[in-house]
């Protein structure tokens, strides 16, 4: 595992006027270069967690440390440079009148020089394959394209971590795949550490690590294989398990001699083929 980028130490958070803890004594670390999926049902606290991570809310007690420095009102601007967020609704996060302006917005806010800015905008848009849309207006773009522009806006600021807060949940299947593919490529080029807050268990299956949130607490933490082995426990929490895992279990119940946990359909097909040829 890479070095620790972020750590949460006994973090508690209450919304104003609420007597229950939205986040209740949460501790975990985020490591450089990993893809961490945070899953949980609606209201489990996962989005609140994202807002705590980039200082949209501050912990009622406990400490969040980002790259060695404690996240406080005083360090929040520094922290936001290190952590970029992409939110759920593509229409709520477009601020520029053109794709180029939109990506430049964050850089302008940070007082980056004009020539450096132009270069960074272009490079960020190339990374998300939206450079052909430089002078387009946002309403000409699909939801998936808008989210890719939002990612470029984050990339241009050269953060260490990108947080996707249900960033694909309002997109159609094609848009969803576009966005995830983009983030996957960026991660493979070692540009980014990814924290993905999601309901999409198929997406979580491809993460390096999964944290399951429930009632404001870390319910479980582990690799996708470890987490999806929990099966019924996940379903009780209002979640689901990936299709390949579900199918593999159902086949095993009928007496088929399958050995592995299958996180992808390809693996399951492969083992079925092997079994088939032996029969």
């Amino acid at each position: 595992m890479g070095k620790k980028l972020v750590s949460l130490d006994h973090v508690v958070f209450n919304y104003e006027g609420s007597d229950s803890h939205a986040i209740n004594d949460v501790s975990f670390d985020i490591y450089e270069g990993e893809w961490l999926a945070i899953v949980g049902h609606n209201g489990s606290g996962k989005s609140t967690l994202a807002k705590l991570l980039n200082g949209l809310h501050f912990a009622s007690s406990g400490v969040i440390t980002i790259n060695g420095s404690e996240l406080t009102q005083a360090t929040v601007w520094e922290a936001r440079r290190k952590i970029g967020m992409v939110f759920q609704n593509p229409d709520n996060q477009f601020v520029g009148t053109t794709v180029e302006d939109d990506v430049a917005f964050g850089l302008e806010n940070n007082g980056i020089q004009q020539d450096i800015m132009a270069e960074r905008v272009k490079r960020a848009l190339m990374k998300v394959k939206m450079d052909a849309f430089l002078d387009q207006e946002p309403h000409h773009l699909s939801g998936g394209q808008k989210q890719r522009v939002a990612i470029a806006g984050v990339l241009a600021l050269q953060p260490d971590i990108i947080i996707l807060d249900e960033a694909t949940s309002m997109l159609d299947p094609r848009g969803r795949e576009e966005v995830l593919e983009t983030v996957r490529e960026l991660k493979e080029e070692n540009v980014l550490t990814v924290v993905s807050i999601t309901h999409d268990l198929e997406e979580a299956a491809k993460a390096d690590r999964i944290i399951v949130m429930n009632k404001g607490q870390v319910h479980r933490e582990g690799s996708p294989i470890e987490i999806f082995r929990l099966e019924d426990e996940l379903i009780e929490l209002g979640l689901d398990i990936p299709f390949s895992v579900k199918l593999s279990k159902a086949l095993q119940k009928t007496g088929l001699d399958l050995k592995n946990d299958h996180l992808t359909e390809e693996e399951l097909v492969k083992e079925l083929c092997e079994l088939h040829s032996k029969m």
């Binding site: 049902h41 609606n42 309002m170 159609d172 209002g238 086949l251 088929l256 029969m279």
Partner: protein
């Protein structure tokens, strides 16, 4: 109530540089008490189509027959559309964005009262609708904005159900919900469809939901009806769907992979996990003795 579309065409912004043909040559009938899924990728005309079902849009050519009423393409303004809007309820995408009242009760009562239901009766309808969507009566007095996202969605849906529509049009009703919430809401709509005989039209990207709940599936493509059929028919030609940029249910996709890798053939598409398990089991037992 039957809804029929005959040669429907719809153009946005006619006689402007932005004129755009969104629907053309659409012919379909939604029979009373049926469950129809409408699928098609973004931009295929699904949303434009559904706005014709309660005259939020009027065709620029052709006609839409809703129960006794016929809506034609014409300049003259159509009157008395309220009765249509009461009978055909639309649950839009992210309906919780439309909540606006001080209390959940007032919000749910708004629709029925707007259609002339007296307050006492509207409150009774609100209570029934709230139960239907699986919420406790205590929240009636709360502000809808103090609820969780999932609860807000249910309140918004209750507001449509309380109008006692004959037809329910659902535009991606579960987008953004967690898996349990998704299943609960879909099962709830199915139950309403069965219990009250409500015709249901589901616009969805989820091929699993289309396969599980619908009697008929309509594929929209480039502004017109590309195909209509039973789920078994539609999903027995998966290649065609993939070519249109659409998905197939997980079960069917898995069958395709197995067929390709194992060199076997499945006689029919498996539309549920149970069917798929049985079909794989049978194929395995047949082994290489094909």
């Amino acid at each position: 109530m039957r809804i029929t579309l005959e040669d429907v065409e719809y153009r946005y912004s006619v006689n402007t540089p932005f004129e755009h043909l969104a629907l053309h040559d659409v012919n379909m009938t939604i029979e009373p008490g049926t469950y129809t899924a409408v699928i098609g990728h973004t931009g295929s005309g699904k949303s434009t189509l559904l706005q014709h079902l309660n005259v939020l849009l009027r065709p620029t050519k052709g006609r839409v027959i809703i129960g006794e009423r016929t809506i034609r393409a014409q300049k003259k303004k159509e009157k008395n559309l309220k009765s249509i809007r009461q009978k055909v309820g639309i649950v839009f995408q992210f309906p919780e964005h439309q909540l606006f009242e001080e209390t959940v009760e007032k919000d749910i009562c708004f629709g029925p009262m707007n259609f002339g239901v007296p307050e006492a009766k509207a409150k009774e309808l609100a209570r029934i609708a709230l139960k239907q969507v699986g919420l406790e009566q205590e929240i009636l007095k709360k502000s809808p904005f103090d609820l969780s996202g999932g609860q807000m969605r249910r309140v918004a849906i209750a507001g449509v159900i309380a109008m006692e529509p004959d037809v329910l049009v659902l535009d991606e009703p579960t987008a953004g919900l967690d898996p349990r919430g998704r299943k609960e809401i879909m099962d709830m709509f199915y139950q309403l469809h069965k219990d009250r005989g409500i015709s249901t039209i589901l616009v969805t990207h989820s091929m699993e939901d289309a396969a599980r709940y619908a009697d008929d599936i309509i594929i929209m493509h480039k502004g017109t009806v590309y195909q209509k059929g039973k789920p078994e028919e539609i999903f027995s030609k998966p290649d065609q769907l993939l070519e249109l940029g659409l998905d197939v249910p997980d079960t069917v996709r898995f069958q395709l992979m197995l067929q390709r890798e194992m060199g076997i053939r499945f006689a029919r598409p498996s539309l549920s996990l149970e069917d798929l398990v049985a079909d794989i089991k049978e194929a395995m037992e047949r082994g290489n003795r094909l």
